[in-house]
Symmetry: C2
Subunit: 197 residues, 2 copies
DNA sequence: CCAAAGTTAGTGATTACTAACTAACCTTGG
DNA sequence: CCAAGGTTAGTTAGTAATCACTAACTTTGG
């Protein structure tokens, strides 16, 4: 897995993400992407070996960002509950600033279209899950989250709620404040899985 | 919205769903669909006016099924808690029997590819949400579900958990028992949003 | 008999990608 | 110092393959 990327490659990735977020995955064509980049179709292939490579690179870029941000949060916030909150805050502000990567969260539909893309998406989901699992598990140990329910189930509940929130934001055309609404939604979830109530 | 469908149309819809679930949406082409149906491409157009119409018809068919099943459950189970459980039981056994419609749950990704498909998918999500909202709201009124959290948030949590469960089932290649695992996951969710604990 | 459901043989449009060429910008050796 | 050579990033003009879809004709069941 290559994670190093040239500035020009990043521009292309961002443009591709924007196209998908705006008009859907089916509308991401090399022609349209080249138009957006204000250069010819052939120029794309000076930076990427294939269209698939652009997608994979984009998902890997997002994965790297998630890793970085989650590790930063883990360093900043020690206690499970504020840390869980901070993790979502980080996601919300990131996607607010980079809505072009929203599609990667829901990329599961063009899954099975190519093994490489498939793998990259699974990796992204897994990275998110692992970071979530760590904090939830710790919270259970320290007694702030309920112990009666298996860690993986709590993780599934939290992650599922987060994903649906992102999806509804996207469906609404980003028509509401993802951070504000997300904060209160996550407050609700945390209060539910919390032991204090 | 047309919901009446010929037997032959249903066969085509099922074949299309199977193709998408097996190989991804990008692999649903008129050529491959015709091959599956063991007839020529042109024959497709004796039953549907366009490829888009097939998709829309498929989603509407699923929507109709959801409506029917949820109404049946509402008639069978009065109390909110067992009714919520029965709703998910119904979904699990339905998708177990008809995995070809799984993609429609995640269809939100190829949204914006066409307005008609877009509308049909939104309608499906809305129908599911409304049935869920009804039972959750009733449970809050009767005091079996927590009142401190707004209905719509509880609905988002339950629905998000359900969707992620379905997604993981799909990612795993339907490699586990969706009903068994789903039952305990939903037990966990219901215990969390319940007032008894 | 005729309509419903199939066939063959195409259509133009679009797709991702490539070959061949070039202008501008390093790098390096005499 | 400076020119020869190499690299980078662009260009134009294609390519074969595939796409959804159609026209015109045929078969068949009630």
């Amino acid at each position: 897995m290559k994670t190093d990327i040239t500035p020009r490659q990043l521009e292309i990735i961002e443009a591709a993400g924007r196209l998908i977020t705006e008009d859907g995955y089916a509308m991401l064509t090399t022609k349209r992407l080249a138009e957006r980049m204000q250069f010819s179709e052939a120029a794309l292939y000076r930076h990427f070996s294939s269209k698939e490579a652009i997608l994979v690179s984009m998902i890997e870029h997002l994965t790297a960002s998630v890793k970085l941000r989650m590790e930063e949060v883990a360093r900043r916030e020690e206690d499970p509950e504020p840390r869980l909150r901070a993790m979502f805050e980080s996601h919300f502000s990131y996607f607010k600033a980079h809505p072009e990567y929203l599609m990667a969260i829901f990329a599961t539909n063009f899954m099975e279209s190519s093994p490489a893309t498939d793998r990259a998406i699974k990796e992204l989901m897994e990275v998110m899950r692992q970071h979530l699992r760590a904090v939830v598990s710790e919270g259970q140990k320290s007694g702030v989250f309920v112990k009666a329910i298996p860690t993986d189930m709590l993780v599934a509940i939290v992650m599922g709620t987060f994903r649906l929130h992102m999806l509804q934001w996207r469906i609404s055309g980003r028509g509401f404040d993802i951070a504000r609404k997300g904060r209160s939604l996550m407050d609700a979830v945390i209060s539910l899985i919390g032991t204090s109530r």
